[in-house]
């Protein structure tokens, strides 16, 4: 049902677009196939469709950013034949997720200055060591390692060409969210670049939340952790007793 409503909005937007160059060149319209990603008991990742209309004849970049956090990166070294975590670094201003989509290669149309200012592209994310680690000289290797690890976990992606125009300046891109998502408010920024200038910019919010039993178990475990522990034991006790009773009959 929800999807049908979205589809309706989608086609309505499509109908509004006038062919050729629009007078309001700076307005971008963006919408999502679903404004909420629900992590439920059966959740194993999901696809989100981001679509909209970009007037003019510029290029479009979409960046999805998860909540900003501090992240610990550790480095293993060999100690007596065993690989041990020996060095640590804490980086701040790290988005938990970073996904980028564009209609063609960024270096074909996006000036470095704009990419830097708007943190477009993983290398432009302004992550840096926390005060405690500010003196570490080779912190950049930890930054690269963080990006590499996030990429392997499917949380950072920056492939180009995965955004397509479909006549009348209607664009769409599909972003895959893996199951290891963190909850929070995600920002979806859409940039319209024309002749080396940013002519329009639009931010859409996406809510990632745990729903139903998943949310209840998680919240209970974190808010009333003692009661949660007691309950876990009661469940185990009951299961053990029932197993014994069943076994005796058999």
């Amino acid at each position: 049902m929800k999807f049908l409503i979205r589809l309706f909005v989608f086609s309505a937007v499509l109908a509004l677009v006038t062919p050729g160059r629009s007078v309001q060149a700076s307005a971008i319209t963006v919408d999502l196939s679903d404004p909420i990603v629900k992590i439920t008991a059966g959740f194993s990742g999901t696809d989100l469709l981001i679509f909209g209309v970009a007037p003019g004849d510029g290029d479009v970049v979409v960046v999805v950013r998860g909540p900003i956090r501090e992240e610990v990166v550790r480095k293993k070294e060999q100690v007596m034949g065993v690989w041990v975590n020996r060095r640590q670094m804490v980086l701040e201003n790290v988005p938990s997720l970073y996904m980028m989509a564009s209609n063609r290669d960024l270096d074909e149309f996006l000036p470095g200055g704009i990419a830097y200012t708007h943190q477009i592209g993983v290398e432009n994310i302004r992550m840096k060591p926390t005060k405690e680690y500010a003196h570490v000289k080779d912190w950049e290797t930890f930054r690269h390692a963080l990006i590499r690890n996030k990429e392997n976990q499917g949380l950072y992606k920056w492939k180009s060409g995965n955004l397509v125009f479909q006549g009348n300046r209607l664009f769409r891109t599909k972003i895959h969210f893996p199951a290891n998502l963190t909850v929070g408010t995600f920002g979806i920024d859409t940039y319209l670049i024309e002749k080396g200038e940013m002519v329009a910019f639009e931010t859409t919010l996406l809510n990632v939340r745990k729903f139903g039993i998943e949310a209840e178990v998680y919240n209970f475990a974190h808010r009333h952790s003692f009661a949660y522990g007691v309950l876990a034991i009661l469940v185990a006790g009951l299961a053990g007793w029932m197993a014994n009773a069943a076994f005796r009959k058999a």
Binding site: I39, T40, A41, G42, F43, S44, R69, E70, E71, V72, V73, R74, K75, K76, E77, G81, V82, W83, V84, N85, Q88, V90, V94, S96, T141, F142, A145, L146, R148, N149, K150, Q153, A179, N180, T182, I213, E214, A215, V217, Y218, A221, H222, S225, F226, Y228, G229, V230, L231, A232, I233, V235, A236, G237, A239, G240, W241, A243, N244, A246, F247
Partner: protein, 304 residues
């Protein structure tokens, strides 16, 4: 069918977890062991974060020990007084263990400590079992009758207590110390610790073998319950959804295992278990020694 684990925060195949629970349950029914020392490493292998695996497995052991101890109670094979004295040590040891666990987790070393502990204990136990079962197979006919227990300096310690059921008059410090050590293992490794406690009760305390298993199970219930609560409070790493699936698989598997086991010879069973234990140990050792795919790893986010 995929299921999302709320505490581990990952999606797993429910049949894989049921199968693991059933398989380890089968082995524990077959060999008469707890199975925690096999289940926890298997959970690592399928990608469950080690702090979650250890804490959740403690929760599952509560269930399997309760169902086991009820059977032993019915046969009168539990020395409750000895169980309580062991438990005093066990609660102290496991509480210290969870504290140590939390410190090591914050230092980023818990993974290493858990895996090294497994390598050390699985090597010792696997080798001992293998040697013993091979020897038993070689000279099955020669039954050597040994003394019930030997007297040594351990029996000169103060605070002597009488344990009627076990027909012992020994220092309470001894079972407290054993309980403490086993409690520590339970907290760090996510095991019941029967594989250490049972030999210690037989060889160090000199308890009659008939009451050893029931009494150790009684102690294990309360020690793993203590670990479950402390892990839940300190680290929020007990995943009840995962534990429940493991319990269901484990219960079913254990029934089949026990029936199958009565048809096999003791030394063959022990030899087979030794091979499985050494196999798991070899995999863990390899993972510690082999050059990691990436020397860098993410240690999670801070302060959220």
């Amino acid at each position: 069918m995929q299921i999302y684990l709320p505490i581990a925060e990952m999606s797993v195949n429910i049949f894989l977890i049921l199968g693991l629970g059933g398989g380890v349950g089968f082995l524990s029914g077959l060999f008469g062991v707890g199975g925690g020392f096999l289940m926890t490493p298997l959970l690592f292998f399928i990608g469950i974060p080690s702090p979650v695996a250890v804490a959740t497995e403690a929760n599952q052991i509560v269930a399997s020990s309760i169902s086991g101890v009820l059977a032993h109670f019915r046969r009168g094979n539990v020395d409750v007084k000895m169980g309580i004295v062991l438990l005093i040590g066990g609660v102290l040891g496991s509480s210290f263990g969870v504290w140590l666990f939390t410190v090591l987790k914050n230092l980023g070393q818990i993974d290493l400590v858990i895996k090294l502990s497994y390598v050390v204990f699985l090597t010792i136990i696997g080798s001992l079992m293998l040697v013993e079962s091979v020897r038993a197979m070689q000279k099955r006919k020669k039954a050597v009758k040994s003394k019930a227990h030997y007297h040594n300096w351990l029996h000169g310690l103060p605070f002597k207590m009488r344990f009627r059921k076990s027909r012992l008059y020994i220092s309470a410090l001894l079972p407290i110390a054993i309980g403490f050590f086993v409690g520590l293992l339970a907290a760090i490794m996510g095991v019941g610790g029967g594989f250490v406690m049972v030999p210690a009760m037989i060889y160090l305390l000199g308890m009659p073998t008939s009451v050893v298993v029931g009494t150790s199970l009684l102690q294990i219930i309360f020690v793993t319950a203590n670990v479950t609560i402390l892990q839940a409070v300190n680290n929020q790493t007990v995943d009840v959804v995962l534990a429940l699936i493991l319990m269901i698989g484990g219960v079913i598997g254990a029934q089949f295992g026990a029936r199958f086991g009565s048809r096999m010879q003791g030394e063959h069973l022990r030899g087979l278990l030794a091979v499985i234990v050494l196999g798991v140990c070899a995999k863990l050792s390899y993972d510690l020694i082999a050059v990691p795919a990436d020397l860098y790893s993410l240690g999670g986010s801070v302060g959220h």
